[in-house]
Each structure stands twice: as C-alpha cells, then as structure tokens.
Amino acid sequence: MLVNVGLVQALMSGLLMGFVYSLIALGLSLIYGVMDVVNFAHGEFLMLGMFLAYWFSVLFRLDPLIAIFIIIPVLFLVGVGIYKGLIKRILNGTRISQILTTFGLSVFMANMAMFLWTPNYRLAERHLTSTTGDLSIFGVYLGVPELIASVGSILVFAFAYYLIRFTRTGRAIQATSIDSEGARLVGINIDNIYAITFGLGISCVGAAGVLLATFYYIFPYVGTFFSMIAFATVALGGFGSVEGSFVAGILIGIIESLGGFFISPAVKYAIVFMTYMVVIILRPATGLFGW
C-alpha cells in the first residue's frame, strides 16, 4: 500500500512538472516547425523569464503570478527584437551558422546573467500565495506552487494553442510552417510571421520560466539544463508538432519522476536523456507522434 501511495505521488509530481515541460517545449517546437531553426538559446530565455520574475518580485513587490502579465508581452518584444537583429540573418544561412549563432547567443546570455546578477541561487519573493504548503488529496501530497505552475502552464499553452489554431495570424503561421513559398504567394508577409512566431515561442518559454520561478531556484545557468529537457521533449513529440509537445512534456515529466522513484533521484535526468537518445535513434526527426 505504501509503495502504491509513493508511486501515485511520483506520478502526480511528474505530471505537474510535465505540464511546465510541455510549455517550454512548445516554444522550441513552434520556432523549429515554422522557421526550421533549432534554437539552442531556448533555455536562456527561460532563465531570462525566471530572472525577470525575480526582479519584479524584489523591486516592485509584484508576485510572479501578476508579473507574468507584464513579462509575457515584454518577452514577446524581446523575441521580435532578437529575430530582427539576429535570427533573420541566419534563416537562409548554413546549418552550422544557425547552430553556432543561436549557440553563441546562449553562451552570451547565460554569462551575461552571471556577470550582471552573480552566480548566486535565488528565490523569487511570493506575495499572493505562500511559498510552501502542501495540498493533500487521498494521502497524496501536492505542492501548492507546483500545482499553480502546472495550471498556469496549461492555461498559457491553451492560449497559445488558441492563437495558433483559431486566429487569422495563427492560420498564417500554420500556412508558413507548411509551405513558406506558398504562403508568400497568397500574400502572407513571411517576415512578420517569422517575427511573431519567434516572439510567441520566446514568450511561451519565458512564461514557463516565470511559473517555475515560484518554486525553482533561479541562477544564470539554469537554462542549459532546461534546454536539454526541451530538446528531449521536442524530439519525443516530433519537431514542429504542437500537440506532440504537450503529450511529450507530460511523458518526460513522468519518466523523470518514475526514474527518480524506481532507481535513484540522482540519476533521473540521465534516464530522461537516455530515453531521448533511444527515441531520436529509433525515430529521428519525427518523434513518437510525428508522421
């Protein structure tokens, strides 16, 4: 019985974390699907979101759950700016210049954060809800911050999904992702769509960062780790697939926590990465749900 409770506990906490992973992966998958660029700096935008949440909470005494409404548009603009200044120039470039540019951006951002904000671990200040506290449902304890983060992730994911699937701009994004030349022919401004997509991808991962900031440690190199998780998730869900990201995020969260439960918490990420290796070897580029 005890084992069962523990197992359910692990499943539930994996599920909660999984929703956050889904949101992180959505941004990466979207950018890849539409622009065909693998954003190696993805995790660094998560880090940026976390630090923004931290500074809003410390300087303006805004709870991350309120600040998120300011941070999402800010990161959207940051994304558009980075697209215009950097990404646009590599769209027609070689693969290696794409890899190295986004990679250079990631090294630059992580170390800039290190330089400006020191390598110290920080926690955002909470004002609306308590930082700790568990909710007990049938003997299974769920952390309130984790619960809020996962519900928040689902909401942001749903909003992004709505934007992509049901709005005019969203249809233009889909059209560009299917065939950019064709989209150009029917009068879609590809450049704007790319800028919006990049901004949208960055605000998704940034929003995940803000939600994570409510309970996760904030430090300059936090992004490199989440980048790997995001790559694993997107590889599992299929590069470019929105629905795939959602399911794969949950799967990765559950694999991680079950690995921690059955083997050892110390190696749970090794298990995630190995799962990823197996998937990418068996089904490169398409993932489990790609076609």
């Binding site: 693998v38 330089f115 790559f231």
Partner: protein
C-alpha cells in the same frame, strides 16, 4: 602514404621553432601556463575538427571523451600505480571504443539532431560519473604527488608539460595532414558535403563516421590524461562539464573548422583572452571570457561562418536532409565535386 615535400619539412621546422621559442619570451609561470592551455585546447580543437570540420558532425559532447581520458589514466595510477603514459594510451583506446558505440546508433542523425544527441550523451555521462562511487563521484580524485619524473608525468616546472602537450598536438596535426591527403579524408569530406551522394558512390558512410568519431575521441581522451597530470586533481565538474564541450567547439569554429591550422589558431586567440580575463577580473569577472566568446562566435557565424582561416564555400550542402540536396551538390560544381571525384578516383 603521401610523399614528404619541401613544404612539409618547412612547416615542421616552423612548428618546432615556434614551440621552442614561445616559452622563452617570459619566465612568468602564468605566461607559460597560458601557452600550455593554447596547446591543450589546440589539441582538443584539432581532435574535434576531425569530426566537425572534415566529416560535418558537430559534436557538442566531447567533454565525455576528455573525462574518459582523465579518469582512465588517473584510476590506473591511483589503484594500480600504472604510469600515466600507459594510462593515456588505454584512455584513448577506451574513448575510441565508447565513441564507436555511440557513433553507430547515431549514424542516421544529421545536423542539429546529431548535435543534440551528442550533448545528451555527454550530460548523461557526467551524471553517471558524478554518482559513481568507485571513481569518488562528485568528490573527485586528487592525484598522488610523485617526484619529478617523466615516468609519472609530473613536474614542478612547466617546461616539460609544454614539451609534452605541443608534441601531442604535433602528432595530432600530422595525423590531420595524413587524413587530408588520404582516401579516408576524401570520404570524410564527401560525407560532409552530401551524405546521400557519398553513399550513392558506394562509400560506407556509417563506417567512415565511426572512424572519424573514434579518431576524434582518441585525441580528446589523450588531452584529458594530460589535463589530469597537469592539474593533478579531477572531478566530474572539471573534466566532464558541458562548458568544456562548448569551449572545444568555439576554438575550432573561431579559427576555422575543416582546416588543419584553424583550431590551433582559434586556441591561440581564445585562450589568452579567457586566461587573462579570468586573472585580471577574478571572481567579479566570472563569465566575462564566455561573454566575449559568445559575441565572437555570433559575429563569426553571421559574417564568416567559415572561421578566421576560411572554410570551404560549399558548406551549404552539409545538412542533406531533403531530397533536393543531391541537386545542389551536383550543380554547386567545383567544391563538392572535388571531394567526390577524389573519393571516386582513389577507390
């Protein structure tokens, strides 16, 4: 075996001369330390280049092989008192075997997929090393102090280290010269330019990719052993860390991937920047060298993806994911044809 030309002799003499003269400019240990770092990262860059530059496989996971080299020789020394020279060879061979084991299943991956997979492999390796008690896990292993001997590769002075690392680098460069002129080199470049065309011409691309990975891992592991003997303390954080993989790629990409001297040039530019920045700014400037690296690499990737020494112009066909890449290679003419013809002509 290519004939030894006058150019080769002059190059060798210039290299030996530069290596001998360089440490004489200053007796300051720090200056000599920077030189050794140039040699170490030059070796790592040259090793990466065999995979990244010639074969087009951008590995971001070289730190795992560096770690294998450092740990193999150190464990053999600590547990059995075996000379690090033997440990170096064993580490290199072990790394090559592991590389073959990784290269085989990943031989279908290209472009960014290969890059991400190599990163995942190195990170898994780091986590496993951190949690493996036999190798002291996260605590790390201090190497036992020995008297100044060549047998145990430990010296108080920096000059012997200087000689060792630049000899190793010299050997690696010679191997690259040989690869460039040999059939293997043509195979590698054909795979880089278009894997589909290479395979259509009858090149066993999987085997060639494995060979490239093994050679690269071998030299990376040798550098790992050298590092362990030089610093005399290893732990997963220092010898298997992701940042190391990044620096290796930077060194090669900045100098010019796919050229013999590019990675050496890259190390000669980047290492003084990072070492002096760290020394000058200390704890306050943590990360400043990497900020500079990040900017340099972005600028180079945008302005001249070919690196400072210049890359081949026909890099465009590297990814080879779509079916249309056969067209591009053939119409691109000059460049790829050269490699393809070489592979054909010699086979």
């Amino acid at each position: 075996m290519p004939k030894i030309s006058r150019k080769t002799v002059v190059t060798v003499l210039l290299y030996v001369g530069a290596v001998v003269i360089a440490p004489l400019f200053s007796k300051a240990p720090f200056y000599r330390h920077v030189l050794i770092m140039v040699g170490l990262y030059g070796l790592l860059g040259v090793a990466w280049n065999i995979m990244g530059g010639y074969t087009g496989l951008y590995s971001f996971g070289q730190s795992a092989f560096f770690g294998i080299g450092a740990y193999t020789s150190t464990m053999m020394l600590v547990k059995a008192g075996v000379s690090p020279w033997i440990g170096m060879l064993c580490g290199g061979i072990l790394a090559a075997i592991v590389a073959a084991g990784v290269a085989y299943p990943t031989s279908r991956l290209r472009g960014p997929y290969f890059t991400i997979a190599s990163q995942a492999f190195a990170r898994t390796f780091q986590i496993l090393m951190t949690n493996w008690d036999y190798v002291e896990g996260a605590i790390g292993i201090p190497l036992p102090l020995m008297p100044d001997t060549w047998r145990f590769m430990q010296f108080k002075d920096k000059i012997p280290y200087h000689i060792i690392i630049f000899s190793l680098l010299g050997i690696a460069i010679l191997v690259c010269y040989y690869i460039e002129r040999s059939r293997t080199g043509y195979y590698f470049r054909a795979i880089r330019d278009s894997e589909q065309v290479a395979s259509a011409l009858g090149i066993n691309t999987v085997r060639q990719r494995i060979i490239a990975a093994m050679l690269s891992a071998f030299f990376t592991a040798i550098a790992g052993t050298f590092y362990a003997q030089y610093v005399l303390y290893i732990d997963p954080e220092s010898v298997t860390h992701h940042a190391l993989s990044i620096e290796i790629v930077m060194v090669a990409a900045v100098g010019g991937a796919g050229t013999i001297w590019g990675p050496v040039l890259g190390a000669a530019i980047l290492m003084p920047i990072s070492q002096y920045a760290r020394a000058a700014l200390g704890g306050a400037g943590r990360g400043i060298d990497l900020i500079i690296y990040g900017v340099i690499i972005m600028v180079i990737a945008l302005v001249r993806p070919t690196g400072i020494l210049g890359f081949f112009q026909r890099e465009r066909t590297i990814e080879g994911e779509g079916g249309d890449d056969v067209d591009t290679t053939i119409t691109a003419g000059t460049g790829s044809d050269d490699a393809v013809r070489g592979a054909l002509g010699q086979s």
